[in-house]
């Protein structure tokens, strides 16, 4: 009944909190921050169209899963704390970094997906410069894959020029994924990312293409150039990947130079970085650029790859997680003055290549030199593999047709597991 007197003893010459408790609390803090981050990431796509609200929105860093850790170690935190509308207003290096991370990059088709005929679109890819076109606040800017500005121009895209025609708030912006085709000076729109401030990141390809086809022509962006519309925009013919569709895409006549075929999964969202839900395929008949050229525009006798040098000397692809093809030792790195993040060109001898479980291993990388400075990314693993196959046993158009014809009707067996408890 009486108070046990030792309860009243207080910590004597002891810190009030134990380190164990501190470890626990720090772990909980880390977990709750990561949980908040996950929720944030899940919400970010839609948030990116918030009309420049007050208060910083941490969206940019989540939009882009780190495709290439270490490429830009110097990125200052402010540059990561941005939302898309602000990004549309960015200039200089910050904008370059931001846009360089926004493009969806198709993997190279190594094998035909089994559901090709049911779940995929196909279209002939225009030859040219892949770019992001952003129109807002009365101007239009196109940026290349590495983020650098290609053109700065007035256009008939929404808010793309300083005209009196106001169909919405001037701050609302549109973002198109395009290929600029030099010969006819036309932007061929291959995807729609945002339209009049409405984000399409989280919409299926099916919907995006539908929206693209119905909205683009309304604006007059497909009209010939004029004072307030410097470049023409055009859509590309998109086909269901049936036998007929594939045939039309492969052999059909288009007003542009073809550079292979693009395949888009119908359900896939617009995902930045490398994705297996968009695929590129080429052969000699539908592309002048089947085999990679070197810096002089020649097809080298040996296959060449561009890899990124990592902090620890590893030479990796642009995939996430990166695929390691080789390693430099420290001595060499020091002597050659190379730095982590450098993109380096290597030649590979055929006999040094092995394929293990669908992954490529190269026992002997021959260092050629640094790659073209304009490049922003190393090659992806699928590209290296595709290039290798193209030189040896390419995936032929006949194989694609065969795949469509032999497509099994339904093979997704249910593998649900019942709850034990």
């Amino acid at each position: 009944m009486a108070p046990p007197s030792h309860d009243l003893r207080r910590a004597y010459k002891r810190p009030a909190i134990s380190d164990q408790q501190r470890r626990r609390e720090l772990a909980l803090l880390r977990q709750s921050q990561h949980r908040a981050d996950s929720h944030h990431r899940a919400r970010q796509l839609a948030s990116s169209l918030l009309p420049s609200s007050e208060g910083p929105l941490r969206t940019e860093q989540e939009i882009e899963p780190e495709v290439e850790p270490g490429t830009e170690p110097e990125v200052e935190p402010e540059a990561r704390v941005l939302d898309a509308p602000r990004a549309a207003k960015l200039g200089g290096a910050e904008a370059r970094r931001w846009f360089a991370r926004q493009i969806m990059l198709p993997e190279w088709m190594i094998d035909a997906p089994p559901d090709l005929d049911r779940n995929w679109y196909v279209f002939p890819r225009p030859a040219g410069k892949r770019c992001f076109v952003v129109s807002s606040n009365g101007t239009t800017v196109s940026r290349l894959r590495n983020g650098s500005v290609l053109h700065h121009f007035p256009s008939s895209l929404p808010n793309g020029a300083r005209t009196k025609d106001k169909s919405g708030p001037s701050s609302s912006y549109s973002i198109l994924d395009c290929i600029f085709h030099e010969p006819d000076q036309t932007y061929y729109v291959i995807d729609m990312v945002c339209w009049r401030g409405y984000s399409l990141y989280d919409c299926s390809a099916e919907f995006r293409f539908f929206w693209l086809n119905s909205k683009l022509t309304e604006t007059g962006a497909c009209n010939p150039p004029s004072t307030y519309h410097k470049y023409r925009f055009s859509i590309v013919p998109i086909y269901e990947c049936t036998e007929q569709g594939l045939h039309a895409a492969y052999s059909g006549v288009v007003p542009y130079v073809k550079d292979g075929l693009l395949f888009y999964n119908k359900q896939a969202h617009y995902q930045t970085g490398n994705t297996p839900l968009a695929l590129v395929w080429k052969d000699g008949a539908c592309s002048q650029y089947l085999l990679d050229t070197d810096s002089k525009g020649q097809v080298p006798s040996q296959q060449q790859v561009v890899l990124e040098l990592q902090e620890d000397g590893k030479l990796t692809t642009s995939d996430d997680p990166p695929h390691v093809f080789g390693c430099f030792d420290r001595d060499f790195i020091q002597k050659s003055g190379l730095r982590p993040g450098n993109l380096l060109r290597f030649a590979i001898r055929d006999e040094s290549v092995r394929l293990v479980d669908g992954k490529m291993e190269i026992s002997d990388l021959q260092f050629v030199g640094r790659s073209n400075r304009a490049r922003a990314f190393a090659d992806s693993h699928s590209k290296v593999l595709f290039q290798y196959a193209a030189r040896h046993s390419p995936l032929r158009i006949e194989d694609l047709f065969a795949c469509i014809r032999s497509s099994p009707t339904d093979e997704d067996g249910s593998n649900d597991i019942e709850m034990a408890g």
Binding site: M1, A2, P3, S5, H6, L8, R9, R10, Y12, K13, P15, S18, D19, Q20, R23, R24, L26, A27, L28, R30, Q31, H34, R35, S38, H39, A42, R43, A46, S47, L49, L50, S53, G55, L57, P69, G70, P73, D202, S204, H269, Q310, E311, D312, P321, D416, I417, E418, M419, A420, G421
Partner: protein
């Protein structure tokens, strides 16, 4: 129907194990076969004055254990069992118990008191046994002192068991009257007076109304103060214990008694026996804590309608209080630094001085400085130690402006004393004081640094040297280094510690290997300091931290190899494993936080994981907790690659989730499931059936500590976010649980702060679950499966808003859920959302919030709703 239990009860206390066991078995059978008869026999035994006191005492004890248990669910079972007993049986038992209070055997009386209180604790809240208090009070008027004493004791226990709300004021008044009369100096029996004083201690919580009445309060206070002057030491001690309890319960009613209390306590501190003097000091410590709380809460910004005003008792008593406390500092015991259980006048006085410093701040400094200056160079170690301890005690509270100039002068002296003072006591306290200097006056927030590039090397040299001193001094030196390192945690890319980093690590590792590192908590302190040094490391020193990894792995490996240990050795081994896992956890978290170091670190991942799995094979809760935390950090660093460890790790994860008893382990494991979800994403799917089963079991268990439940709900959200629409099959289990928990938590009776805090944690967990599930199903063709729950979720949000008692965290999560609902279910819920209060007033309020996070979530919700409503 009763049975002769005396021999069995005596045999159950036999020295012979077989006899004992047999007797216990018989008692157990009897209880199982016929509980009413069993309880009747026991109460009969207890009340029978013919029976041996040993069997009576055990009979009472078994009765008591049949009414109460530590674990809540067991306790509830026993309560229900008692309530469902036949009324006649209960009446008979109670009569026996009351009768025992008059027994001449003190042990029997005392045991009966406790059993009566237990029954009262069960029955009074049910409005049963209404005559109990009256019966007890009528005993008070009996002349025999032993009956009076037993009755007062019973009233005391009763007040401890029963909450004040179930006793009406009239009875409270009578109880208090009886108790205070029993304490009165006119009471002839010392036993009665002691029992009454102890009973008052428990009855104080019932005296709210009486303390508000000036006359009654004056009377109670006078009697308590008189009891502090009783010739009996136990009564004096019990009376001071009452004063301590009054100081925290009725702080705001004390003003007119403080002068008297000061005189009484000062006399006791200076003249009385130690147990009494300690309580007298405790009174002032308790007043300090009250005032610190009040000042914390209001920040010194009082208005007439503040709940509890601060009376600044300490500030007023300061000129007399401080000298009294300083005197106690000179009454150290020779071996107090080695004896972990020691608690004496000097320790209590110093601790109180520290609390006084926190209460009054700068004002204490001029009162203590002369004492320090006078004693710090005296030949007697007691004077030097007391002076140093006084200095160390006042470092928290006064402003840096006031302390920094003094510390700058004292620092060199301290460093020299730590090296050269002949007394270990003085060195111990000096190292502790240095630690306090670094804790409170060093770090990125301090304007004028105490540690400069000039003195830093010397400080480190002294501390590292001191770590070779006797264990208690070395432990304090480690502690000082801990706070020194902590001050550099935010130092940025270059830390002044960098150039000494290797030496510091080496010195700490050397300490962990000392033969005598088991004494004075030295090994633990060394590892904890190592953790802090790692946390404060920078890019420059990352390679040194990396080198630590194989060293610690090897040590952990060695502990796992040790064979044939005695239980004592095994306990030590477990402790060491816990420390090593803790340290590895800190390292993983540190190195995993930067891409560069993470890749280099991951080369060790396989081996580390292997070691952790072996650690789990040892059954020790603390070690499991540490290893589990470390694995969570590893999963975060490894990302999806962690999947390769899952087959080996899964069984231990499940074990952790099943650990009801050591709920900390369970809680930590739940957190790690979250880590795994984020690291593995959909790769966690094959393990989800098992995990979800365990989590659902945990939630349904009434054995599991309630604090684990909110994180379990959050964990549902983590899982749903990771596996998306695959969460489908868990919906029918998880949703009803969320729904009923939501209903309970929305309108929880939240009278006290602690309950409200828990309720808000629970709400947050539920909301995080909803958020994760909604986001997980986003864009899935199965989104429709969530439609049936939408109305309920909205209703939950509306209720939360209307209750007006959620905290900022809940508000942020709740408004986010509104957005998630709109985002995932789109136009299907547009009309529902439009009808809700949440989408209007609640959203408006959040949009206008000053809290950036709430506003951000609200912006999101607004956007998602506008899309849902327009689409």
């Amino acid at each position: 129907m009763a049975m002769e239990v005396t021999p069995i009860l005596l045999n159950a206390q036999s020295v012979d194990a077989t006899t004992r066991k047999h007797a216990e078995e018989t008692l157990k059978q009897f209880q199982e076969q016929n509980l009413p008869a069993f309880l009747l026999s026991l109460s009969g035994e207890l009340s029978n004055n013919e029976k041996p006191v040993d069997s009576r005492r055990l009979a009472g004890l078994i009765l008591k254990n049949a009414l109460d248990a530590k674990e809540l669910h067991r306790k509830n079972e026993l309560v229900q069992r008692w309530l469902s007993l036949d009324a006649g049986v209960k009446a008979q038992i109670k009569a026996c118990l009351l009768q025992t209070l008059s027994s001449p055997a003190p042990d029997a009386r005392s045991t009966a008191s406790q059993v009566i209180a237990k029954i009262a604790g069960i029955e009074l809240p049910q409005k049963q046994w209404p005559e109990l208090i009256g019966t007890l009070l009528s005993n008070i008027h009996q002349l025999q002192p032993h009956v009076k004493q037993a009755t007062l004791e019973t009233l005391g226990y009763l007040c401890e068991e029963v909450s004040p709300q179930v006793v009406d004021q009239d009875q409270v008044n009578k109880i208090l009257t009886a108790v205070v009369q029993g304490m009165n100096a006119s009471e002839a029996s010392a036993d009665v007076r002691l029992a009454a004083t102890r009973a008052l201690y428990n009855a104080l919580g019932f005296a709210q109304a009486n303390f508000s009445n000036d006359m009654e309060r004056d009377y109670i206070m006078r009697v308590v103060c008189e009891a502090t002057l009783s010739p009996e030491v136990k009564i004096r001690q019990a009376a001071f214990e009452c004063l301590v309890a009054i100081s925290s319960t009725y702080y705001e009613k004390l003003a007119s008694y403080m002068q008297d209390i000061f005189n009484i306590t000062a006399k006791a501190v200076r003249e009385d026996e130690e147990p009494v003097a300690l309580q007298a000091i405790e009174f002032w410590s308790s007043i300090c804590e009250e005032e610190i709380d009040i000042l914390d809460e209001y920040g010194g910004d009082f208005t007439a309608d503040s709940d509890t005003p601060c009376f600044y008792f300490i500030k007023q008593a300061l000129p007399a209080l401080v000298p009294m406390l300083l005197e106690t500092l000179l009454k150290q015991e020779e071996d107090q630094d080695q004896d972990e259980g020691a608690w004496n006048l000097a320790m209590a006085g110093g601790t109180c001085l520290g609390l006084v410093a926190r209460t009054v701040g700068d004002d204490i400094v001029p009162l203590v400085m002369p004492f320090i200056e006078e004693n710090i160079t005296k030949p007697d170690w007691r004077q030097r130690e007391a002076a140093t301890y006084a200095f160390g005690s006042i470092l928290e509270g006064p402003s840096p402006d006031k302390l920094t100039p003094i510390v700058n002068v004292a620092l060199n002296f301290m460093l020299t004393a730590l090296m050269k003072d002949p007394s270990n006591h003085v060195k111990d306290t000096t190292a502790w004081t240095l630690g306090r200097i670094f804790e409170f006056l060093h770090g990125s927030t301090v304007e004028v640094p105490i540690i400069t590039p000039e003195n830093c090397p010397q400080i480190l040299t002294v501390l590292l040297q001191s770590m070779k001193d006797v264990p208690n001094v070395a432990e304090k030196a480690c502690g000082a280094l801990y706070f020194l390192a902590q001050g550099y945690e935010d130092a940025g890319s270059t830390s002044p510690l960098s150039s000494f980093f290797q030496d510091i690590i080496q010195a700490l590792l050397t300490v962990t290997h000392r033969e005598d590192a088991g004494e004075s908590r030295l090994r633990t302190a060394a590892y904890e300091t190592l953790n802090e040094v790692v946390r404060s490391s920078t890019d420059e020193t990352a390679p040194v931290v990396m080198q630590l990894v194989p060293v610690l792995m090897m040590e952990l490996h060695q502990t796992l190899e040790a064979q044939k240990l005695s239980s004592d050795e095994r306990e030590k081994q477990n402790e060491l494993q816990g420390l090593l896992c803790g340290c590895l956890q800190v390292i993983i978290q540190k190195l995993g936080a930067s891409e560069t170091t993470k890749y280099a670190f991951m080369q060790y991942a396989d081996q580390i994981m292997d070691l952790f799995l072996r650690v789990f094979a040892c059954r020790n809760a603390t070690v499991h907790e540490e290893a589990m935390l470390a694995i969570g950090a590893l999963a975060y660093a490894a990302g999806p690659n962690f999947v390769k460890y899952m087959p080996g790790f899964y069984q231990y994860l499940e074990m952790g989730l099943q650990n009801f008893e050591e709920y900390q382990v369970c809680a930590i494991t739940v957190g790690v499931v979250g880590d795994l979800c984020r690291a593995l994403e959909d790769k966690i799917l094959p393990f989800c059936d098992g995990i979800m089963t365990q989590l659902l079991k945990d939630l349904s268990s009434n054995q599991l500590h309630r604090s684990v439940k909110p994180p379990i709900f959050s964990c549902f959200g983590d899982i749903a976010l990771a596996i998306g629409e695959n969460f489908e099959k868990y919906l029918i289990y998880a949703m009803p649980m969320l729904q009923s928990a939501a209903e309970l938590s929305a309108r929880a009776a939240t009278a006290d702060d602690e309950m409200l805090e828990y309720t808000n944690q629970l709400r947050n967990g539920i909301l995080e679950a909803y958020s994760g599930i909604l986001q997980g199903f986003k864009n899935s063709p199965k989104t429709q499966l969530l439609m049936p729950y939408a109305a309920h979720i909205l209703q939950f949000l509306d209720t939360l808003y209307n209750e007006k008692d959620m905290d900022d965290v809940v508000m942020k999560t709740a408004i986010g859920v509104l957005g998630d609902l709109a985002d995932t279910l789109g136009s299907h819920v547009g009309p529902l959302i439009n009808q809700s209060v949440s989408s209007k007033d609640f959203l408006e309020e959040c949009l206008l919030s000053d809290d950036h996070l709430i506003k951000e979530s609200a912006d999101w919700a607004k956007l998602a709703i506008s899309r849902a409503v327009s689409g």
